[in-house]
Amino acid sequence: MTTKLLAQAVGLATIFACTTVAPAWAQSITIAIGSEPSTLDPQLRDDGGERQVNDNIYETLMARTPTGELVPGLAAAVPTQVDATTWQFKLREGVKFHNGEPFNADAVVASVTRVIDPANNSEQMAYYGTIKGAEKVDDLTVNLVTNGPDPILPSRLYWMKMIAPGYSKDGDLAGAPVGTGPYKFESWNRGTDLTLVANSDYWRGEPEIDGVTYRFVTEPGTRLSGLLSGEFDVITNLLPEFTESVPKFAAVRSLETSVFVLGTDNEVTKDPKVRQALNLAIDRQSMVESLFMGYASVAKGSHINPAAVGFNEKLEPYPYDIEKAKALIKEAGAEGKPLVVVGESGRWLKDREQIEAVAGYWAETGLQVTTDIQEFSQYLESLMGDGPRPDSIFIANSNELLDADREMSFIYHKDGAAASNSDAEMAAMIEAARTETDAAKRKSIYDQIQQKGHELSYTVPLFNLQDIYGLSERMEWQPRVDAKMIVSEMKVAE
């Protein structure tokens, strides 16, 4: 009997000993993210999990404030233009990589050269396609050369992480990264967790939080449980309906805007009256409240991100006017005609719910609406393939560079992968803006494009979505509009 009791006691003690999280340092936090980094090489993949970690290890020439304003990062100042295709960057002095290598012009040249090298076939080339190369001027001055005039170049360099030239040759970039950032890589247990420690030599000063452990938890319910049980301090992608059950949360406008792209050459949707009716038939505000519990805002008449350069702030959201929508459908002679709504499920926040609610509104106008929720790869084929354009297709479009060119080229330009129009005039305007280096002129072209797209209802913009983070009681953090989780901006209450 005693041995049995003893065995039980030992068993229980083991369990308790194992569950107590031993604090290795005074202030370390645990962040649960949805997907593990595929690699820690900062230049190969376009991978959210990789960025969430590497954004704290590496830095870029340009940076953004939490509200999205572009400011110098590792550059000493905003770049100056030498000529239409050459930008000159002055670099910060005295910055060192975690392995002691100095950050200088050679590091910039090595970083640019590596990421654009066709042999590396980097997925990030979607962001750097215009960059031709980098040339060292002196130790702390670099010229970046583009293939043609590229006004977005500074924004592009907000994306490009700077690697240590020596380490990139003989080090393990994929498994043990070395950057200039506020946190240093410590360990990575594949599949389970990854730990960073504060860089005491950081050029802006040592960060407040001494260490951060990332845990990879795919299932949102499990992330939530971990926050409730006190294992996690920050969790990503909290669902709006759980904001009331967590100790603390923080919401911020995200990079994503949900929108339907309409086929302007399709049987029914080629009539601008029908397209306008589709825009007027949706009660967006009530969807914000019922679907998102208020954590989303109605898109202001365009699918361009409001934080992006080139956003037309003069447009108003489409009003909700079902009677007018019905009248327009009648006028267009489209009553009872078929409209197919294509979408996917489970990729973006409340995607299926948005698609089905909108299809419901559209059915009220008198159109014969069918919804086609497709498996994701089939959906991608519908969105970007060579086949016929759908009448309407849903997308939650993300704008990482916060420049209007992204959404314009992708959805408005007739050759854009997700575009469903054949407007050559609009395409010409987008191309003109893309190379227009005068900021005011460029902005005015973008304003015109959005005005036109709004009037002709090429798209049905829905919502500017929000990122919601669940936080533990002790965390203090205001999340950023660019969705980066910068640990040096977080605080732990004593």
Binding site: T39, S229, E381, M384
Partner: protein, 306 residues
């Protein structure tokens, strides 16, 4: 015996080949991995370059020949998602899954025999009714739900155990428990039914009439007789666990095993990793089948290995 093993191995090779060929075809029918892998904003030129790099621009027959060569050398190419050899990812995650199965299925086997036996000795008694109710629940509730409820009770409310992840002994308790519930229910019911059946047979009555005690009858005769059906049902459960239950349980508990990795590979269109995972699981299932047949023969020599 040797002849039997050789024949089963040959059959196994055919099975693994068939499964692999099916996966090869299905992964190529199920959408374009290039558009799943690359960001939405990738240009056409990038898509073409990427397809070339991973060999998807080749004719399907050439791809299949390359795939067959890969199988023989156990080289499935680089995982598109992790950019390292797919087989390395599989061998890194496989032990975690094995550990979870050993803990989950092991406890189901160990618990089910006494539970089923006690229930069978007093059909309709308290233990019997309790076991049957729990068993029914175990069979009726989806593991996904059991897992989340277990987390809520034992991790969030009681704070006895961690919610997810791997690392200490405590981390394995909840996932193993969740994994064990369905097999435990099935085993217990099977043991109970087989025991009731056996206990009504003439040899038991004879043995009792001779004055043998019940424990001895159970140990020497009855349990041995139900071991063969028990082996085959546990083999079946092992295969179901390996190829199905672990997918759900590992996802809920963020357990870094092969099941979770399979889900992630599918989501990311990582066809090379999918091929490697399915190949390794198919081989394991073939091996399990052979081992079970040999074990059955060892337990009951009357069984013909044909």
């Amino acid at each position: 015996m040797l002849q039997f093993i050789l024949r089963r191995l040959f059959q196994g090779v055919l099975v693994v080949f068939g499964v692999s060929a099916t996966v090869f075809v299905v992964t190529r029918l199920a959408g374009d991995p290039v558009s799943l892998m690359l960001p939405l904003s990738a240009t056409e030129a990038q898509r073409i370059a990427f397809a070339q790099q991973i060999g998807l621009d080749q004719p399907i027959a050439a791809q299949f020949m390359r795939f067959l060569g890969d199988i023989v050398t156990l080289d499935f190419g680089n995982s598109l998602w992790q950019r390292r050899p797919a087989i390395d990812v599989v061998f890194e995650r496989l032990p975690n899954t094995m550990l979870l199965i050993a803990a989950g299925l092991g406890s189901a086997v160990i618990l089910s025999i006494p539970l089923g036996a006690i229930a069978a000795l007093r059909p309709g008694g308290l233990v019997d009714r309790l076991t049957m109710s729990i068993g029914l629940l175990g069979l009726a509730m989806p593991q996904f739900w059991i897992g989340l409820i277990a987390i809520l009770i034992f991790a969030v409310q009681l704070k006895w155990l961690p919610t997810s992840g791997m690392g200490t002994v405590a981390h394995i308790v909840l996932p193993a428990l969740t994994l064990s519930l369905t097999p435990l229910a099935r085993f217990t019911m099977m043991v109970r039914a087989a025991m009731i059946d056996e206990l009504n047979k003439q040899y038991v009555k004879t043995a009792r009439a001779k004055g043998l005690g019940l424990p001895r009858i159970l140990r020497v005769h009855t349990l041995r007789n139900i071991l063969v059906p028990f082996l085959s049902i546990s083999g079946w459960e092992l295969i179901s666990t390996l190829s199905g239950y672990t997918v759900v349980v590992e996802t809920v508990f963020a357990w870094p095993g092969l099941g979770l990795t399979a889900v992630q590979a599918i989501q990311r269109g990582d066809l090379f990793l999918m091929q490697a995972i399915v190949f390794v699981i198919a081989i394991l299932i073939v091996i399990i089948g052979i081992v079970l047949d040999i074990l059955s023969k060892a337990v009951d020599p009357r069984i013909e290995l044909n």
